[in-house]
């Protein structure tokens, strides 16, 4: 199931590391009522502040226009809508996670943090599911060798 294009492999690697992180968060939150929500939220900070934006921006600016040109605009729209929903959760979650990283959150803030982290996990896992099954295989048809090389280089340099 490994994608044959370099871009596909980069995105697949990131999906797998995102899934690993999200699974860890989900398991930690489900482990017990006394889970350290603040520490778990802090572990998500880099993901919220850097990874999500970088990954989504690349797909939206470089890949989705190519998909639309090739007649897969419906799928590109669906994935863009999901990006917007995930960004909205991340925007709400990031300041709370930053505060939690600085000190233990109040019980009320912990409850909101937990709810938002679980929402992020559910939305992003479902989104990765769609991209792994639909977007990555599509790249094999969509990119020629030269475009693949250029995009992979641009993504790595970003």
């Amino acid at each position: 199931m490994t994608p044959s294009r370099q871009v596909g492999r980069c995105l697949d690697d990131e999906h797998r590391s995102h899934l690993e992180l999200l699974n860890r968060v989900e398991q930690a939150l489900g482990r017990s009522a006394g889970a350290d929500v603040g520490t778990i939220a802090a572990s998500l900070l880099h993901h919220l502040e850097h990874e999500i934006g970088r990954h989504f921006d690349f797909e939206e600016t470089q890949l989705f226009p190519l998909m639309a040109e090739a007649g897969d605009g419906d799928l590109a729209s669906l994935l863009t809508e999901e990006h917007d929903n995930i960004r909205a959760v991340a925007d709400e979650l990031a300041p709370l996670a930053r505060a939690a990283a600085a000190g233990a959150p109040e019980p009320a803030a912990s409850a909101v943090l937990k709810r938002l982290m679980l929402e992020l996990v559910e939305r992003q896992v479902a989104h990765i599911q769609k991209e792994s099954m639909a977007l990555l295989p599509l790249l094999d048809d969509l990119l020629d060798d030269e475009t693949d090389r250029q995009l992979a280089f641009a993504y790595a340099a970003n």
């Binding site: 199931m1 899934l19 419906d74 799928l75 669906l78 929903n85 990765i128 769609k130 792994s132 295989p137």
Partner: protein, 442 residues
């Protein structure tokens, strides 16, 4: 050639939006299935005293059986097929009016048929059966049109054609059985019953369950589509097994044909389970909780049913082993698998409908009330265990068997009500989400 994952997911996801039926169409079939499920346990409760000595004649146990098979299993399978098959086979959605008409003929027909069976009113039963058969003919036509134009997914399509052929045989055997009760025999009683059981449980439902698993499991587990040649081999073995067993039901070399049918059925199951195991081990989400537990109960029950069938062929008492075989097939395999699937696809389908025109729509878990599903699982397994115990106790202790059947009906009813609460809450949250007010919390 496009990779297999693309054939499923690209078509599925890109087409899912445009091929999404109005929520009320598939959900009305699932809703009826949920209500009939509770009705089945109520019917068993009404006929608990008859259960130990029941031999397949008219009465509440027969009504309970048909409320499960036609009311719950087939009704939900129709709803799932109408929504999933056009997406999986990249076919346009057929007339929505026909789909609505199908529900209006089928659901009251099943209710009248079950009432006629329970109250031993052959003419009510015949009227209900006529409505059900008309609805199934319409469903068969819709399914046939879809399969004829199918692109891709050859394994799923083979199972679909097998189920369609079995649907025709199910209708034929149903006419023969109703004819018997009306005093106009068309077929020998044993042959008609055998054909009916095989066509209904294994042919229609069994093949749909095997075929739709190749669409659903990869979706749930985030895995590639299973090897299509093996899907075809498993499907072919299953169809051969059913055909051999049907031949045996008509009295042609019954022992040899039944043994061959069990062999072919075992091969079909082994291949199917290998594909399911590969799907789960290759998936990025290997554990989907309670739904997977129910599916595993389903697969184990089918293996148990094949062992019970072998015992029957080798001379085990038909009274006890035949009934245990029925419980393993209908309750253990088909019903468990169905509820495993329903608790995954209902929130997913509802969230897709809730998402239409909404910013940050609710997630499937935000629409799900989880606790009743946990209780449903416990009640489902306990009820089937009690029913099996009632069957084992029946020859020696009638009073004990009746008490156990009553307990099974009560526990099963509690489980059905729990699933009903999950469904009702899901519908309410979907309505809230679409109305824009009182959005369910994510």
């Amino acid at each position: 050639m496009k990779p297999p994952t693309r054939r499923l997911a690209g078509g599925f996801l890109a087409g899912a939006g445009s091929r999404l039926l109005p929520a009320s169409l598939p959900l009305r079939f699932f809703g009826a299935g949920v209500v009939f499920h509770a009705g089945a346990w109520l019917a068993l409760l009404a006929g608990a005293a008859d259960w130990p000595g029941w031999h397949g004649g008219l009465g509440w146990p027969l009504a309970a059986l048909h409320l499960i098979t036609l009311g719950t299993l087939l009704c939900c399978a129709i709803g799932a097929s109408l929504q999933l098959l056009p997406v999986a086979t990249r076919q346009p959605v057929r007339s929505q009016r026909l789909m609505a008409a199908l529900w209006w003929a089928y659901v009251p027909g099943v209710a009248l048929l079950a009432l006629g069976m329970g109250r031993a009113e052959p003419y009510w039963m015949a009227t209900g059966a006529a409505a059900v058969l008309a609805a199934l003919a319409l469903f068969g036509a819709l399914l046939g049109m879809n399969l004829r134009g199918a692109r891709g997914m050859p394994g799923v399509v083979l199972h679909g054609w097998g189920a369609l052929l079995a649907l025709a045989l199910l209708g034929l055997s149903a006419v023969a059985l109703v004819g018997l009760w009306l005093g106009r025999p068309l077929l020998d009683t044993g042959a008609a019953r055998g054909l009916h059981l095989l066509a209904g449980a294994f042919g229609v439902m069994g093949l749909l369950v095997f075929g739709l698993a190749y669409v659903l499991l990869p979706m749930f587990a985030l895995a590639p589509v299973p090897d299509e040649r093996r899907q075809l081999a498993s499907g072919a073995a299953a169809i051969v097994a059913i055909a051999l067993a049907m031949g045996a039901a008509f009295g042609a070399a019954p022992t040899a044909l039944r043994l061959a049918a069990i062999g072919a059925g075992t091969l079909a199951l082994v291949l199917h389970l290998q594909l399911m195991r590969q799907t789960l081990s290759a998936g990025m989400r290997r554990d989907f909780g309670r739904a997977l537990v129910l599916m595993r109960i389903g697969w184990s029950s089918l293996a148990l049913a094949l062992l019970l069938a072998l015992a029957l062929v080798l001379g085990a008492p038909a009274e006890t082993f035949g009934r245990l075989f029925g419980i393993a097939v209908i309750g253990g395999w088909l019903l468990s698998f169905l509820f495993g699937v329903l608790q995954r696809i209902l929130p997913f389908l509802a969230s897709m409908h809730a998402a239409r025109g909404q910013k940050r729509p609710p997630t499937p878990s935000a629409l799900t009330l989880d606790r009743p599903l946990a209780w449903h699982l416990v009640c489902h397994v306990t009820a089937l265990g009690l029913l099996a115990a009632a069957t084992l106790g029946a020859p020696a202790a009638l009073a004990l068997a009746t008490a156990l059947a009553t307990a099974a009906a009560l526990v099963g009813l509690a489980g059905a009500l729990c699933f009903g609460i999950f469904f009702a809450v899901l519908m309410r949250r979907l309505q809230q989400a679409r109305g824009g007010g009182n959005r369910p919390p994510n």
